[in-house]
Amino acid sequence: MAPILQTKNLCHVYGEGTPFRHEALRHIDLSIDRGEFLGVIGHTGSGKSTLIQHLNGLLKPTSGEVLFDGEDIWKDKAFTRAVRFKVGLVFQYPEYQLFEETVYADIAFGPKNMGLDKDEVDRRVRRAAGFVGISEKSLQKSPFDLSGGNRRRAAIAGVIAMEPDVLILDEPTAGLDPLGSEQILQNIRDWQAAQGAAVVMVTHDMSDIAECADRIVVLSDGALAMDGTPREIFSRAQELTQIGLDVPQVTKVFLRLRELGLDVDPAVYTVQQAAQALLKRKGGSPC
């Protein structure tokens, strides 16, 4: 099956012709399949945010192209706008873009811009709110009366209410407590399972990505450094460290165990896998 989103030789240069010229993206070839959960990792300034803003046509490539369903998203204005609804983008700290008087109206902003009728907008708002766990009562509140975590949920609901085919999230758990971020990740996974959409998540948190992603791409200095399953990526711990990234904590523990002479799998990246690997080593069976 053809990928839903694809970039071909995508390059982006900021400030062309000035002393501040900066190559943010270099020759990115990336394809995103329908229904997959893709993790994007890279240290600050590696071009992650620039990349995702190309995927829904907010930034225009300096050279190269971005294809949605096989068609260039810049082929005409109407198509670019249509793609913005099909590729939902949740920015970093999305709670700062809330502006309406009620949470309901804010979530309805996207669907209304799509030109849907009132009943459909209503259905989508309630469905999106349900996914992120915003109660019926909270929908009529002002977004500014919600707690920080709920405000972020409302903002995410505002994008998933557009029911996009691809949902892109830039650091959705930044600044939240462990419980709050775990819940948001679960909300996103639930929505993905129900919608069958592709999800692209940009993050710094290796544990988050290890839990969720089917596939991971690593960006370094504006170029695609690695592309593979979490297992493949996290088994290259040394290379990751070299480009200033980390591996999940449990992987670190296992690497150290190996150094100490214990023959365990070094590419373990979730706590569950770790428990299994240890039990196998002990000769016992998982309980």
């Binding site: 700062y96 902003f109 996207g110 811009n113």
Partner: protein, 268 residues
């Protein structure tokens, strides 16, 4: 789009002009403006212009960047030129048709007026290009200090100015982020009539206001945590001190002013 705004921008550098005391630079700009308005004829304008060119050369600010700052006031410059050209009294008529009568005096007036405005803008912009906002407000506070005796809150005013200047770039970045975020939800800023376009700004302005208030609140708390209580008894980490270069600069400015006054007397 917003990145192109250069008004009040500071270009860091380490030239003689950058190193001058901000008070010296502020006073120098005042003297420069006085000299510019006293200038009467080609010779005196040429002298002031030569001084400006010299200052720009010392500052190493690229002339192209400096000239770009004229763009926002281009209309004012053109209008001034046209008005002076058409409505100046004079006997030496060069062109005359319908109600328009262009005289040699008018031509000269227009030329001098345009030159005066352009040099005024360039001179003051050179100040902000070579002086950091903090140094500028610091200098201003020192110069206005005598007014504190008349119960003018000089320190508070300069602190406000400093904070305002500091947050211009921050707010610009924030505005761009909010615009992108709302565009991602299908907001449309480019089509529709005036009312629709004005309405389309609400999703940008509301979050921007809220975040400005939040920032102001956080800043106030942070300042209070460090026991900020206004200007009374406050000492400075960086004391402003005049150096030999500053006295030299004062000398140059006074010489320029004196020369322009003498030239004016001579009708040049």
């Amino acid at each position: 789009m917003l990145k192109d705004v250069t008004i009040g921008q500071y270009f860091p550098g380490d030239t003689a002009l950058h190193r001058l005391d901000p008070r010296t630079k502020l006073l120098a700009v005042i003297v420069y403006i006085v000299a510019l308005f006293l200038a009467k004829w080609y010779v005196s304008y040429a002298l002031v212009l030569a001084f400006l060119v010299f200052a720009v050369a010392v500052s190493r600010v690229r002339p192209k960047v400096l000239l770009k700052s004229l763009r926002p006031i281009l209309i004012i410059i053109i209008l001034t030129g046209v008005l002076n050209l058409c409505y100046s009294m004079g006997d030496h008529v060069l062109v005359s048709f319908w109600i328009i009568r262009i005289t040699r005096e008018g031509l000269e007036n227009a030329f001098f007026m345009i030159l005066r405005i352009v040099m005024l803008i360039l001179g003051t912009f050179l100040l902000t290009y070579t002086t950091s906002p903090i140094a500028l407000t610091d200098g201003l506070e020192q110069l206005l200090r005598p007014l504190a005796k008349l119960r003018v809150p000089v320190h508070e005013l300069s602190m406000m100015m400093c904070i305002a200047l500091r947050f211009i770039p921050t707010l610009m970045v924030e505005t761009e982020n909010i615009i992108s975020a709302q565009k991602a939800r299908g907001a449309d800023f480019e089509t529709g009539n005036l009312v629709r376009r004005a309405k389309a700004l609400i999703p940008i302005l509301v979050p921007l206001f809220i975040s400005s208030f939040r920032r102001a609140d956080e800043l106030a708390t942070a300042m209070e945590c460090r026991c900020y209580h206004g200007g009374e008894g406050r000492t400075k980490l960086k004391q402003l001190r005049y150096t030999a270069a500053d006295f030299a600069a004062f000398g140059v400015m006074l010489a320029l002013l004196a020369a322009v006054i003498v030239l004016r007397r001579m009708g040049l």
